[in-house]
């Protein structure tokens, strides 16, 4: 136990060899390494802080994930590495991990007393660069600097490589790469790949390498542009160079685009896990609606993104249609949707377009799909998509800060994902709200959608348990389901179902926007409920409630503006407080969507559900939701909270959401879901 022996042994000799001239490494490295440590356990947090200080690092500690995220967003370049606990009440550690990966691209180390293989694997799939088992020893902390160095090294390589050749994604994996490497590149891509492996840098490299690569902040706008460009090119053909050209952003380099594209791809790939399901869903959807078909193919992601970002509609629609036709290629669809989602994130989302019912359907469906990774049933897909949608909605909300009311919470740029989430959430809410308010309008649209949604929901629901990970997802599915079940019961509620689909539509179309504005209120709660929902989904109606409650929390937080509008149906919605003002753009759609979902009785529960997505998720979950929703109806909105408050997950999710306007996602306890990159 001689701790001192380990001290002072750090040296980066080997790693520095590859550093380019531009890279400045102080002699004292790793002393002064800026570490952000997040753990809800005060004892552990204190011990870790002390140990890190003993390692001569500069430590910042947080006991909540939301706080950590906001700190990171405020000061994007202020930290070198993040240490996070896995089990936290307000946000799942993996969700935080995703957010950080997408928004800030910092190395993240997970910690837990849990050393089960599943959990560790989850860390890996979510992109954690290491996993420490508690109790953490100081020796383990002494070496965490290696992750910072490694990451920077890889970034440099990327930088250099892309500088001279047509860059394809370096990642070995995706078929996309293969596709576009063959099509887009002049054949340099392969060459560049080789180059990557070379340690010796040529002159070209030297030129680029001397430049210190600044960290690019992928703001909402930037991400939106990125997603738009990718969509335009088609996910298969989206090469960094072309994306860069399309984006036409001064100062942005191909490397930046390439690395962002990598992440996006991983994200999409993760979502594609549900692609199979989505295809199922899409088929169902397509049956109902031709548009759906195309949308469905896109998978929930598209929908979500659409919903979330408003902007999506245009883009996603295009994609959806393209994708829809290619239903067979569910997988590819997913990536597209993913892209869409990304868009959402970056979207400021003014565009929630609810207009088309079809679109709504699609989005719903997609969301569902996305949410669930369950391959065979629609439900899973739906859930997945819902989740995504929820997420995206949530994100969107978050992101929209610059846009004024909606984005009240978001940090303008750093929080892409987070913002998106929020926005999405708000959107979801808005969507829901608007949907609900405009019941008459939506109902007509919604009806068909409902059926679709329901179908999907059901399927997605099953997936929910797995998908729990997606924070918002679970809830949404349930939401969808809810309407279905209660369609008859809730005259107004039925509407929600429609709205759910609408939610998705909203995103794409943005038609609802008007409605949404007023409505946005309640949907905020989605996200949180999702989390709860996931857990419970399996079985507890209560969870539904909790979820709703959570949603209520969230929504209330998110939806400052929305709150006014909750008149939709239930007080629950109102709670969400999504002020329509906020939602204006994206939120609205989200809100509407979420509202729609709520109205069915979930509304009460959903009150807080700001995240439309969540609702969607909830709907998808349907079985549990159904049960719950019924119960929910009985409980007065006001009671819902306290009753369900019991559930820690839900509560924490709710609180989290509420507290952090920018909160990006709800806790996802989704185990099966491997959306690595979904920051949501």
């Amino acid at each position: 136990m001689n701790v001192s022996s380990v001290k002072g042994s750090m040296s980066i000799s080997s790693s520095t060899s590859t550093w380019k001239a531009g890279d400045t490494i102080s002699d004292q490295f790793p002393a002064g390494l800026r570490v952000l440590v997040v753990d809800d356990d005060p004892t552990c947090l204190m011990i870790l802080e002390k140990m890190l200080i003993a390692c001569l690092y500069k430590v910042t500690k947080c006991n909540r994930a939301e706080t950590a995220l906001s700190k990171l967003r405020e000061n994007k370049n202020g930290y070198d590495i993040v240490l996070s606990d896995v089990h936290m009440p307000d946000m799942d550690g993996f969700k935080l991990l995703e957010h950080i990966g997408l928004e800030m691209d910092l190395p993240v180390i997970m910690m837990s007393a849990d050393d089960g293989k599943q959990v560790v694997m989850k860390g890996v799939t979510h992109g954690a660069c290491d996993y420490l088992i508690k109790p953490v020893r100081i020796e383990a902390l002494k070496n965490i600097w290696q992750h910072v160095v490694r990451k920077r090294k890889n970034e440099w390589k990327e930088f250099e490589q892309s500088g001279s050749v047509e860059e394809g994604d370096r990642q070995p994996k995706q078929s996309d790469d293969a596709d576009y490497s063959s099509s887009a590149n002049e054949g340099n891509w392969k060459g560049s790949k080789r180059r990557k492996d070379e340690e010796e840098e040529t002159d070209e490299r030297d030129d680029t390498s001397t430049l210190k690569k600044p960290r690019v902040v992928w703001s909402v706008e930037l991400h939106q542009q990125f997603v738009a460009a990718v969509n335009q090119l088609g996910i298969d053909k989206a090469v960094p160079k072309k994306i860069l050209e399309l984006m036409n952003v001064p100062g942005l380099t191909r490397e930046n685009v390439a690395s962002h594209l990598q992440k996006y791809r991983l994200y999409l790939r993760r979502l594609s896990g549900v692609s199979q399901h989505q295809s199922n869903l899409s088929t169902i959807i397509s049956a109902q609606d031709p548009t759906f078909g195309s949308l469905s193919s896109l998978s929930g992601l598209d929908l979500q993104t659409l919903a979330a970002t408003g902007q999506l509609p245009a883009q996603s629609l295009a994609r959806l249609q393209a994708a829809g036709l290619g239903r067979a290629t569910a997988k590819s669809a997913i990536p597209i949707t993913l892209v869409d989602q990304r868009n959402i994130f970056s979207f400021e989302n003014p565009k929630l377009r609810f207009g088309e019912g079809q679109q709504q359907h699609m989005t719903n469906k997609q969301q569902v799909n996305l949410l669930h990774g369950i391959p065979t049933t629609m439900e899973p897909k739906q859930l997945v998509s819902l989740r995504h949608a929820a997420q995206s909605v949530g994100n969107m909300n978050m992101q929209v800060p610059p846009h004024g009311p909606q984005s009240s919470q978001n940090n303008p740029l750093l929080m892409q994902m987070g913002q998106q989430q929020q926005q999405q959430q708000s959107r979801g809410q808005i969507l829901v709200d608007s949907t609900i308010n405009h019941a008459p309008r939506l109902s007509s649209m919604g009806q068909p959608i409902l059926s679709n949604g329901m179908a999907t929901n059901v399927s997605s629901r099953s997936g929910i348990p797995e998908n729990i990970r997606a924070p918002g997802y679970s809830q949404t599915p349930s939401m969808l389901n809810f309407p279905m079940n209660h369609a008859s019961e809730l005259p107004g509620n039925c509407f929600p179902l429609g709205s759910t689909p609408g939610v998705s539509n909203l995103t794409s179309k943005g038609a609802f926007q008007e409605d949404v504005n007023s409505e946005i209120k309640g949907s905020g709660g989605f996200m949180p409920s999702y989390d709860v929902f996931n857990d419970l989904n399996q079985h507890k109606p209560q969870s539904w409630e909790l979820q709703n409650v959570g949603i209520a929390f969230d929504s209330s937080q998110h939806s400052n503006s929305l709150q006014g509008n909750l008149d939709l149906t239930q007080s629950a919605l109102g709670q969400q407080g999504f002020s329509s003002g906020q939602m204006n753009g994206h939120n609205r759609s989200a809100a509407v969507a979420s509202k729609a979902m709520f109205s069915t009785g979930d509304v009460k529960e959903l009150r807080s559900a700001q995240n439309v997505n969540q609702h969607l998720n909830n709907l998808l979950v349907d079985n549990t939701i159904r049960v719950k929703s019924e119960r929910v109806c009985d409980t007065s909105p006001a009671n819902i909270f306290p009753d369900h408050f019991g559930q820690d997950d839900l509560m924490s999710a709710l609180l989290k959401q509420q507290e952090s306007v920018a909160s990006s996602e709800n806790e996802f306890d989704f185990d099966g879901y491997s959306m690595n990159n979904i920051p949501v």
Binding site: V3, P42, T43, M46
Partner: protein
């Protein structure tokens, strides 16, 4: 009693805690983290642990007292207690938590209630021991002595 004697008593007492399994190597790490710039580190962390654990134990008691026990919640609390007790080196508490969690998985109400008792017992025991030990340390410091480093043959 004079300082030397107190110091010897402290060393023997501390060693016994390790021998009996109340504390493990992690506690030594904490002690080594304490230095001039942070002379009360161990006391602070231990106090934090006590407060946090008592809250968790209360939550656990309430959770298991429900007509419909939410085992997920119970498990989450136990997991948290396991994490903090292992971080501080309270070995027996940690082990009791591990057993507790496995019964939570089985959703066995009786067994989990028993486990809760077990965890509480271990917690109060180690709390008592740590308080005694810290008191001894305080007395030594008050008398002008220094805290001897424990050399354990781990």
């Amino acid at each position: 009693m004079e300082v030397g004697q107190m110091q010897r008593r402290l060393v023997d007492y501390t060693k016994s805690l390790f021998m009996e399994g109340f504390l493990d190597a992690q506690f030594l790490q904490l002690q080594q983290l304490q230095d001039e710039s942070n002379p009360d580190f161990v006391v602070e962390v231990v106090s934090l642990f006590f407060d946090d654990s008592e809250k968790l134990l209360n939550d656990l008691t309430m959770a298991l007292d429900q007509p419909n026990v939410d085992f997920k919640k119970v498990d989450a609390h136990v997991h948290q207690l396991k994490g903090s007790s292992s971080s501080i080196g309270a070995q027996r508490v940690k082990n009791a938590c591990i057993a507790f969690r496995s019964f939570c998985e089985e959703q066995n109400i009786d067994a989990t209630l028993r486990c809760l008792q077990q965890v509480k017992q271990e917690y109060y025991l180690v709390k008592n021991k740590l308080e005694t030990m810290l008191r001894l340390e305080q007395q030594i410091v008050a008398a002008g002595g220094s805290i001897p480093m424990i050399e354990l043959g781990f």
